[in-house]
Every structure is written in C-alpha cells, then in structure tokens.
Symmetry: D2
Subunit: 262 residues, 4 copies
C-alpha cells in the first residue's frame, strides 16, 4: 500500500465527461438500449445476455419477485411502520430475511445440481438422466441430507411455476443439464424417498439460472434482486393501504405472559 | 381483531394450484411475457407501463445501477469480506447507504419539482417554463435551501446522463412537466445563484420518474432497486477480484492515534 | 492521498502485544474494571462517567431495552424465522425499525429540550421553569408542530418510568436543566394544548441523557444500544418458544385480495 | 388461529400503569437496580447473573466492543457518510459484518468447546485436560477442519486479552470446563499442528461465555451487542473527526479499470 496502491474494477468508472460501465459508454451504449434485467445479468456474468437468455432470466425474476405476505414482506412493512423516514431501512430489513429458509432454495438447488453435474458428461437421453438422478438422490439420502427444490407448503401436488419455466427455457433452447437433471429428480425421487413431491418454483428457478451459466454461489443474489422489486411493491402498498399496524397489534394484543422458568 | 380480521392486498396471493400477482395469473400472464423492469413499475404503479414508459423507466434504472467505488459499494464489499456467509447482509449493508446524501437526490429532485408544479397549470412555452423556474429557484434561495439536482463532484460542466435521458424521454413522447421544469431550472438558475451548475444525472432521473406518474415519495425506492443490481455486480466482482481486504488494510494501517481530548 | 495519508482515531488501536482503546490499555485498565454501560458512555463522550452518571445512564438503557412485541421485535423474529443462519441479520432488521416513530422520541425529546435551553440562563425556581415551558410549548404549537415526549398509547395517565427515572437522577444529583424543563412542560402544557398528557418514558430518557452531557444528535444511538440487548432477548426467546411462524401465518392466512383499482 | 390465538412471552408486557419485564416490575425492580450488562445477560439466560458472573460477562463485552478500523467499523462510517439521516442504518450496516469471518470466532469457539465436552465427565487435572485437548485437536485435524480460536493476524505470539480474561474468570471462581479445555488446547496443539499459535481473544471470550452457561448458539449475539457499543463510538467519532470521505476517496481515486475478459 503506497505509491502503487490500486483498486481494480471492471464496473463503473467516470471522468469529467464520460461514465463507463462494464467497458461500455453508459450513455451512448447502455441507456435506452439495454433493459434492466439484461444489465443485471451483464453486471454479474460480465457478458450481455442474448434475447433468449434475457427472456428466461427475466421470467425467473418475475417468478420470484413477490409471494404476498411472506415473513420478509411483513418484516419490511413493520420496519416501515416504525421508521417511515428510511425507505432503505425497510427494504434492507426485508432482504435480510433472504436467507437459508424462505429464499435460499434457489441457490441451494442450483448448487446441488451443479455439484452433481461437475466432472461428468451429461447423459444424452431420459434414461441416462433418470439413472443419474437416482444415483444423486440416493447418495443425498444416504448422507441424511435433504434434496433441495422438492416440496412446497402450499402447492402440494404441483407448483404452477415449474412447468411454465421449463417451457420457456425449452422454447428458447436453454433447457440445459441443470433443468434436465432437476426434471429427472422429479421423476425418480419417489423410488428413493417413498413419496412423491412436486418440484418447487424456487428450485426450478435455481436450475434455470444455473443453465444460464450464472455463478451458482451468487444465485441467492438474483432471488434478492427479484425480491427487492417485490418489497418495493409491498412498501408502496403499505403506504396506500397499510396492514403493518394491524399485524403488530394482532401479535401484541394477544401476548400472554409465561413464567420464564416454565 | 378477531373473527373479521383481514389483511388486504393487491399483490401476491396463492392457492394450491394458482399464484396470482396484481390480479394476474403469475404463470399464464406474467412469466415470459413481462420484463423485470415492467413488473417493478407495475408493482408500484398498479398498472402495466407502455413500451415507451418501460424504455424510459429502464433507462433510469440503468443510469443509476452502478457508479463504481461509491461509499455504498465499498460498504457492501467490506461487509461481504467480514461475513461471506450472508450475501443478503452485504447487499443490505450497501443499500443502507441509500439515504439523503449519495442516493437521495433522485427522490429529492422529483419531490421538489412535483411540489413546484402542484396546483398550477403547466406553462406552454419555454418562456413560461423559465419564468416558473426563476420563481421557484428564487423562493428556494430565499428560504436558505438548496435546489436539488444541481451540481456534481465529478461532472462539473455537464453530466453526460442528463441530455441522453431527456432525449430518450423526448423520443418516447414522455418529456413531461417535471423534466421541462428541470431543464428550465438548468437555464435560469445562474441568474439567481450566481454560478452555472450542471443538471446532474440523479436529478434528471427523478424528474423522468415523476413524469412517468410514479409516486414521488417512493422514488428513492427505484434508485435502491437499480443499486441492488449494481451491488450484486460489485459483490460478484469482490468474489472474482477482491479489493475489500486492501481497502480495509489501507485504512487500518494508516490509523493514527489522536488523544481524545485534542 | 498518498504518502501522508492518515486516518485519525481515539478509539481502538493495537500493536503485536498491546490493545489500546480510548487512550487506555484495554487489558490492564478496562477489562474487569469498567462496566459495559460505563464503556458505552465513555466511547461516545470520551470520558469515563462517574458512578452517579453510570447509574442514571444504565437506568435509561434498562428502561429502553425491551417493550415486548413491538414492530421491531416482530420484524427481528420474522427475519430470524426466514434466515436462521444469520443472527446478525435478524438483529439488524430489528434495529432498522429504530427510526422516527417508535424509537425516535428519546432523541427528538432530548434535542427539543436542548434547543429550547440553548443560549439561555436556566431558571432558578419552578415558576421560572414553568414560564419557560409555557413559552416553548406555545411557540411549538404556533408552528403547528408537536411537543415530543407527551402522551403514550398505553400509559394514558402516567408512564411509570417517568417519576422513577426523575427520582434516580435526583438521588444522584443529576436532575439537570433538560429534566427540569421537561417536568415543567408536564405541568404547563395543558394550558396551551387543552388536554393533559403524561410525560412518556422515551421522552424522559432523552431528557436524562441530555442532562448527562451526551451529544443530543446521537441519543437515538443509546436507544438502539438498549434495544440491541432487548432484541437479543427476543431472538433467544424465538429459539426457545417461537412465535414468528404463527405471526406470519396469522397475516398470510387472513390475506384478502383487493382489486388494485379499488 | 382465531379465538384461541395467543403469543407467549416472558419478556416485556405492559398495562396502563405497569411495565413488566422478565417477570419483574421494570420500574420498581430493575431501573436503577440492575446494570445494563446484567440485564443483557438476564434477557437471554432468564436468570439474573451473580456479581461474579456479571464481572466476567462485562469483561468479555468490554474486550469485544471495539477493535478500531475493522471492516465493520469502516462499513458503518461509510454508510453514515452516505445516509447521515439514518443512524440506525449505519449501525445495522456495521453489525451485518458480524458474520463468520471477523466476529464469528467467539461463537465458533464456544460451540466447538461445548461439543467437545458434551456427554463427558470433565477431567480433574491438567494431564486429563491435555489428553482431552489432544484427542479433540487430532480429530479436528483429521476431518480437515480448523480449530477455532487459534492464531491472530496482529497478536502473533500472545493475544493480551487471553491471560487477562482467564485471570478474571479464575478470580471469580468461574474458570470452568470450556476455559480449561481451551487452555489445554493452547498447550498441546503444537504437537498436532506442528506450530505454536496464540489463543486469541475472540476465542477466549467464547469459552468464558460458555462457562457462564449462556446458550452457545447465541454467543455471536453477545459479540454483536458489544460491537453495537463500539460502533456507536465509531459513529460519534465520525461526526467529530470524519474519515469516511477520505476512506472512500482513497479507494475511488485509485480505481483502475480492468477489462472484464481479463
């Protein structure tokens, strides 16, 4: 650190009369020419997605944007109720729930499939995929772990997002190995686990993002980006038709004191 | 609160086999058919934007997504360095800097123009706009307040985003009263303030968003959404080519103890 | 920035065999010798509080630590439910509600009293305090603003914390001008506002902190520190006897779709 | 959820004229009578600590409160620079760095020792502790994992906090099995790892907190509470003698653009 100190970046830099981003001229090459979803992809992947890739990518973001009164949406609304002066705080509070349990499945599923595929030649037919899926699910079960992307508390038979996203990826020629393995897991897991579970939407989104070549360690980030838009919608609605105060009072007025030693 | 307790929403709801969002069927009507920027607009405005509106809106998001090593980007990277297990925490830390000073200009400027226009018939020619701008800037000056959207630490003569965004809005027939008043402020403020300042990019974004009819109290939210994509890019780069440790050590190794009573 | 770059601090610094904090040797002078509340005071005020000051200061922190199922406590619990892997995220989410509305009164009240006292000789008897209070409340009313620290949604007649904290400050010889003005406001405001409101606990805490000489712009910070302890208690209880899932389901299961155009 | 809906808690509840916390009357039993550190312990452990326990507990909090320009302190200051209107956001941003890497050692070490001791009779002499430590370190090494609490980037020979905290615990009769096992690890690890590393301060704090009977899954929470006080000190100093702008400019002005394909 001294004379030679430097901080390398391929993202935004600017001079008095030019702003550059990703090696492009922001105003001449990007504004009005690149969609927001496209840019988000580009910022992480360092390459502009094709129109087909953009369509699949944005379908994923749309699928993940809002799920109504999730714990994260309620947390954001309660924070906005308490601190209406800080929209950024309410949004951040909502995103902080984007962890392992409610929003992590996208990343967990993408990583799981990615690891299962690593160092292998992908099968060339459904029988091959089924055999691989069976091997993978059996191994996971043997380790006492769970297979991510299976089951959903509300969509107990089928998650409506799953076939639709697979269809979009298929139309665009982007139904790659992660989606194919995930589908095969959907066909074979019952043999190992003893019961049929639906492939959930968060999981299929992870598989689709992995097929787009996005880094699997950052898939949670795309779920968070999608959720940022959803939370903005939640906060706009909280201004228009608030529920935060009622949610809070419902809990507080039904508080029951319990002896700490019980 | 009791039997009749209910929490109204127009956003996401779901049943065992359907997911609805904004009154649409998520899988049949939205996925693969609506872009992510379009959906973000829709979630707040409760109406689908036209293609022209979407182009202006996404140009704004693209303009605001990343400005390189801003305090927020560095904060996000340092948080990721400390807690690499929690991507959501690093993203949230970055967004928490989206307050009054570095990211607030978009909202401040949109609100300022909105209030100036409230209850008036918009002028019909440049002379009329100039007269209104002069009145507004003079009044602001008299109150000892500053006019938001003027000046930039780096782009001292012209912010390259300003003419480009005005051009895009103009092409799309969306150069409305907020942008026109902002442009007029750009022409006349020197008469009042005694020096010529550029209209900055954050300000022109606020004016453009206000012209799209988005609620001015939430404009900061769109800057935050744009920044969420930029921060994701920053965190992806921090994984690929980290600077957080160097940034931290540069500060820590140059720490100098000062007597607290000095 | 270059050779001469330096970052001054009076807080923590360390060498291979010593850690210094506030100009003290951490291990020889502080650990085991200074209480945690004392250190928190010292870190902001840059001087060690006296035992009397510590007692008042800690009584304030104890008073503000936990108020049960507040919006911030529920937000922290919901975040922990969603992301149990990140205790720091749940704690941060809870603190983010420490804004203008539910937790800001302490700071608002301290600042209000501070500004009212600035540049004046404090009165020497109750009649003098009452006259000043009357003047201040009348002026606030005339500006259409509200007097911070008056009224409480639950403690409609008297907030039990108010007389107790004044008593502690009095016992310790620390009932200074901020508390005295606040008490006088309690006596006279009915003449101006037309109704009698209790002096609330958050307000009296702000007055007491201001009397301790702590910087009024940072009083919210002490409320946040107190709340950090309370939120830790809430999260410990969420592990032991969870309510987050029930709180979430209560809202989600009672969601009612409303047409966005209504 | 309906008639019978209830949310149990042993923490704060209130009625019109009483506030209860932990089964105590807040104003009669706690304010002015319980220190802040005592209360923080009580809120998690559900029992009031003894004076000896309080002394060890507060020594730990004091030890962990501030380490100068850590990544978390810098992140908090940069956030405050960007959004000075939201002290809670700056504090939250700083705490969000309290994850696995810089602040997690306390919890990791406490848990590690706790698991090693589970289901065993603690040894009765140093030879017994050394044998157990050897077994534990050998097993950890065999699994390819690292032993938490060993080594420090600055205190390469001895962390000055370690002997002091052990001394305080010893004086108070609270040098329990976790500390004793940790000390034994300090004596024997060189035999297994091939080099001598110091027992670090964060680790010894984790051992001491575990010996106090605090839940090991929440030890990170106490490190966060301690850090909340330290961050408040950092933010107070940022107001008084700011370094955020210089830290930001040091990085930004030394940014070097790198082709994304390199």
């Amino acid at each position: 650190m001294a004379e030679g100190m430097s901080f390398p970046t391929s993202l935004g830099t600017s001079t008095a009369d030019e702003i550059r981003l990703l090696g492009q001229d922001l105003t001449a090459d990007l504004m009005g020419k690149v969609g927001f979803g496209e840019l988000a992809f580009w910022l992480v992947a360092l390459r502009r997605p094709t129109p087909s890739e953009t369509r699949v990518f944005e379908a994923v973001l749309v699928a993940l944007a809002d799920h109504g009164f999730t714990p994260t949406a309620i947390a954001a609304r309660l924070t906005y109720l308490s601190a209406p002066d800080s929209l950024q705080g309410a949004l951040a509070a909502g995103l902080l729930g984007g962890g392992s349990r409610f929003l992590g499945v996208t990343e967990d599923c993408g990583m799981y499939l990615h690891e299962a595929l690593e160092g292998r030649d992908p099968p060339t037919d459904d029988a091959g995929w089924d055999a691989l899926a069976l091997e993978v699910v059996t191994a996971t079960r043997a380790e006492g772990k769970y297979v991510p992307g299976l089951g959903h508390p509300v969509h107990k038979v089928q998650d409506p997002r799953t076939p639709v996203l697979i269809g979009i990826a298929s139309d665009e020629g982007l139904r790659g190995p992660h989606l194919q393995l995930f589908e095969a897991i959907g066909r074979v897991h019952e043999q190992v686990l003893g019961r049929k579970l639906p492939l959930n939407g968060a999981g299929v989104c992870g598989a689709a993002l992995a097929d787009l070549g996005l880094p699997v360690e950052l898939l949670r980030g795309f779920a968070l980006l999608a959720r940022a838009a959803g939370l903005l919608g939640q906060l706009a609605e909280e201004r228009r038709r608030p529920i935060g105060m009622d949610a809070y009072l419902t809990v507080d007025r039904n508080a029951v004191y319990v002896d700490p030693n019980d």
